[in-house]
Amino acid sequence: MATITFTLNGKRKTLSVDPQMPLLWALRDTMGLKGTKYGCGIAQCGACTVHVNGVATRSCQLPMSAVASQQITTIEGLSVTGDHPVQKAWLEHDVAQCGYCQSGQIMSAASLLKTTPNPTAADIDGAMSGNICRCGTYTRIKAAIHSAAKK
């Protein structure tokens, strides 16, 4: 067990946890934030994507020891009322089918738009190809990212 202090969705947080435990399970099991999803556990699907200091990161492969003093943002903290431009664009295009992958897709897209406010199709492919959607919503996601870029 280790005591780890970090910032979660803008608030300081101190946890006493196994330093090896991935952030994903600390979020879901310890802190009760279920928006970040488990899909593969090996950084291959993107369902667990959060922002670490603003950068899209797979939380399933990030041990709590590496989270100390970092700024973590999850889907629950992306915006206070769920009106981040990416979230709005997702609703406008009614992107979701089952919806399970979408927290991760949204977090990847929001991080992309921060560094690349006007992404090309190739930029989107580059930033998003780590996020699998079994329902096949990729084409809508692409359109939604373009819309969000205009907001």
Binding site: T74, C98, Y100
Partner: protein, 750 residues
């Protein structure tokens, strides 16, 4: 009449809901308003719901709650089914809240999400429920105002009379609830639809994009333990012994024990599977602790013998044999090759195919194969269970609550009314969640540890303990006379462990001499529903065979299909043709036009077409392909669909787009390979899924406009994608692909 006060306190709300006999709430969800807002405006609460029937409740201030009977797995039923109710009720969609019903067989029937059945099966009952509630409201207004009921009109949740009198549904709800439910009520004509056929946003959209805990894997209860199961590493193996001494010393671990999923000797019911019937459960406080303890668990496995069991499909009993042994994909293909040469069961025969082939001037013969496919729903299998001596609660992602109830009641020796099942949103299903073994497992574990338990599979568990799309093969033969007329058609298909042949589908009925045959090889690898498992193989094989046939006959691929359909219509061969030749041809004609198939500038493109009928609907696609870094890439697709009335057009388009992407992915990359019973792919590092950069830039979807009652959309657009991809690949590479996944033939690394 039942009027229930509810308030902001969740617990008492839950209780009130149950008492009202109305819809049960999933304890993880709050209402979903039709606009997708998180919750009702606070001033609208507390809400005294008045229940008009099992599907409809109304408050005095005119908030209308519509129950969705079927579980949601991304096909958008939580929006489209309530839309059907709202249409006939004449409700204002803005005032509608939607709630997911718990399982209640008496009220809602089977509540089965699968087989493209939700909208098709509930279309009439929901229209009736909406129309009869509307009638009761009109009757109430007529009595209150002293006017004939015929003179009371409705519009967007308001009742009015020519005299100037008017009232909201909410104001009349209590009185309406005292009116006798009419036996039948007049339904609208499609021309009058104002909700149905008008796109509505996903009612849970806002919750999805804000990460609300909607899914089974998100569900929690106080005091709940977390469980995982260890299954044999290979199909054909079973538990011998285990040593949990080290694992039990790990932090947070509560219990480790072995158990039988189903009791020995029990009959196997519908959707029940015996993939691995004895498992080791690891139960602890949290996911991470259980995962760690699992690594310390020592288990010995041994070969499983052959076994026989009785299958009981709702009263229809037969014995089934499952062989022991460790199977490998390469050997399975060899075995299929051998078996294909032996005689098979004749499934349909028209005319004299033997003579037609003997007299043929030319015979085209091609053989197609496909591997096992894993479902890979993004949310792995999981279920919450709390089972005690006298009752059981299950909460989780499942497709077939009506059938699961029977399985669970039998397994736990409880009357059905003591088995409560709540359905969460599913992170994908594709058929996989119709198999309730994981619910049984959760229940057995809960009963053993005497606590509420959530069972969760890791991705590896999910992929290697599967109910896969079967392995298939089929040989197609066509006989042509000297003038290149098609005089005979023969399909002989087989599979492990079921054959794929739909004997009565196109081109049956269009060819005078026709033979369809099937054979099967039993296996201990479990298989099942997978977004139309047989159809998605057939559509690849048959549609790519027809393409090759068209080329041999010197015909345009659209023309060949349309000519055959013309014959099937004018002069059908045989009596049992499954399809409607006009609807089939209608889809092809629309597709031809919308894709600009005949335009000279498109002729040079690498385009492939396929169209298929399954699960009562018709779908066709044109896909346009290029080579990108030596690998096939589908840039653009066009789809035409006839599924009757389209309830929610934008959501329907989304589902077709998804089927196109999913179809391209599975056709090019999908496949599970076994070596000595061990799946080689265990996670997404080795099981290749289609990704963003491989999805088309442009997907265009068109629906045939007609007033036919909805015929289903979940499956139908998926199978023909495989065929269209195969045909476009031929244009792109100059070589025909006969073995799925096609990508692997081009590039072994795929």
């Amino acid at each position: 009449m039942k009027t229930t006060k509810t308030n902001l306190n969740r617990r008492s709300f839950l209780k009130a809901s149950v008492l009202s006999g109305g819809g049960m709430l999933l304890s993880v969800s709050w209402f979903t308003t039709a606009q997708g807002a998180d919750k009702l405006p606070a001033e609208a609460l507390p809400l005294p719901w008045v229940e008009l029937n099992g599907y409809i409740q109304i408050t005095p201030d005119n908030v209308i709650k519509l129950m969705c009977p079927n579980p949601e797995f991304g096909q958008n039923v939580m929006t489209s089914l309530p839309m059907i109710l709202a249409e006939e009720l004449d409700a204002d969609w803005k005032n509608v809240v939607v709630d997911m019903a718990a399982h209640d067989g008496v009220k809602y029937g089977f509540q089965f999400t699968g087989g493209s059945q939700s909208v098709r099966a509930y279309w009439k009952p929901l229209r009736q429920a909406g129309a009869s509630a509307r009638h009761m409201l009109r009757e109430a207004a007529a009595q209150a105002w002293g006017v004939p009921v015929e003179e009371v009109t409705t519009k967007a949740g308001t009742l009015s009379h020519a005299s100037g009198k008017s009232a909201t549904y909410g104001e009349m709800a209590s009185k309406a609830a005292t009116i006798t439910v009419p036996k039948t009520a007049k339904l609208k004509t499609p021309a009058d639809f104002s909700v149905v056929r008008h796109s509505k946003k996903n009612v849970e959209g806002k919750k999805v994009v804000t990460g609300k805990p909607l899914f089974g894997i998100d569900y929690e209860q106080p005091g709940m333990l977390l469980a995982m199961v260890q299954h044999p590493p290979a199909f054909g193996m079973k538990l011998k012994s285990f040593d949990a001494s080290q694992a039990l010393k790990m932090p947070g671990i509560n219990a480790i024990f072995s158990f039988k999923v189903f009791e020995d000797g029990s009959e196997r019911g519908m959707f029940e599977t015996r993939t691995f019937n004895e498992l080791v459960a690891i139960v602890g406080n949290s996911t991470w602790e259980v995962m760690n303890a699992r690594k310390k668990l020592k288990v010995n496995w041994e070969p499983a013998p052959d076994f026989k069991e009785v299958l009981n499909m709702r009263g229809n009993k037969r014995e089934e044999f499952t062989p022991g042994g460790l199977e490998s994909t390469a050997a399975q293909f060899a075995k299929m090759d051998e078996r294909a040469k032996q005689p098979a069961t004749v499934l349909r025969k028209d005319g004299d195919p033997e003579t037609a082939f003997k007299n043929a001037a030319q015979v085209l013969e091609r053989t197609y194969t496909a591997p096992f496919l894993a479902h890979n729903t993004m949310e792995p299998m999981n279920c919450f269970a709390h089972v005690t001596a006298d009752k059981a609660l299950f909460v989780g992602p499942l497709q077939a609550p009506g059938l699961a109830e029977e399985t669970l009641a039998n397994r736990f020796g409880l009357p059905k009314d003591k088995v409560e099942i709540q359905m969460t949103r599913m992170g994908g299903g594709f058929g996989r969640r119709a198999y309730p073994h994981y619910m049984v497992e959760a229940g057995v574990i809960s009963r053993q540890v005497k606590a509420p338990v959530k069972l969760v599979y890791t991705r590896e568990d999910d992929m290697t303990y599967g109910i896969y799309r079967p392995m298939y093969t089929a040989t197609y033969r066509a006989a042509l006379d000297a003038d290149k007329n098609l005089i005979g058609f023969h399909v002989k298909g087989g599979g492990i462990p079921e054959h794929p042949v739909h004997a009565h589908r196109f081109p049956a009925g269009a060819v005078a001499n026709y033979l369809a045959e099937g054979w099967e090889i039993p296996s201990n690898i479990t298989i099942g529903a997978f977004r139309a498992p047989r159809s998605n193989f057939n559509a690849a094989a048959e549609q790519s065979f027809l393409d090759e046939l068209a080329e041999l006959m010197g015909k345009d691929p659209f023309d060949l299909r349309l000519d055959l359909l013309k014959q099937a219509k004018a002069n059908p061969v045989g009596k049992f043709n499954d399809y409607d030749a006009d609807r089939y041809a209608g889809v092809l004609t629309l597709l031809r036009e919308k894709s600009g198939w005949d335009k000279p500038e498109n002729k040079a493109k690498n385009r492939g077409v396929a169209a298929y009928f399954c699960h009562n609907s018709y779908a066709g696609h044109v896909v346009e392909m290029t080579l990108r870094n030596g690998q096939p890439y589908v840039q653009k697709t066009y789809s035409a669909i006839d599924c009757g009335v389209v309830v929610n057009p934008d959501a329907a388009r989304n589902m077709v787009e998804g089927a196109v992407v999913d179809g391209i992915g599975n056709a090019l990359y999908g496949g599970l390979v076994q070596k000595e019973g061990v799946p080689e792919q265990t996670n997404f590092d080795r099981y290749r899924m289609i990704r963003h950069n491989e999805a088309p830039q442009h997907i265009e979807v068109h629906f045939v406009q007609n007033d036919i009652d909805p015929t289903g959309l979940g499956e139908p657009p998926f199978p023909p994608v495989f065929g269209a991809v195969a045909n476009a690949l031929y244009k792109t590479t100059g070589k025909r692909s006969y073995n799925q996944p096609f990508g692997r033939e081009i590039d072994k690394r795929i």
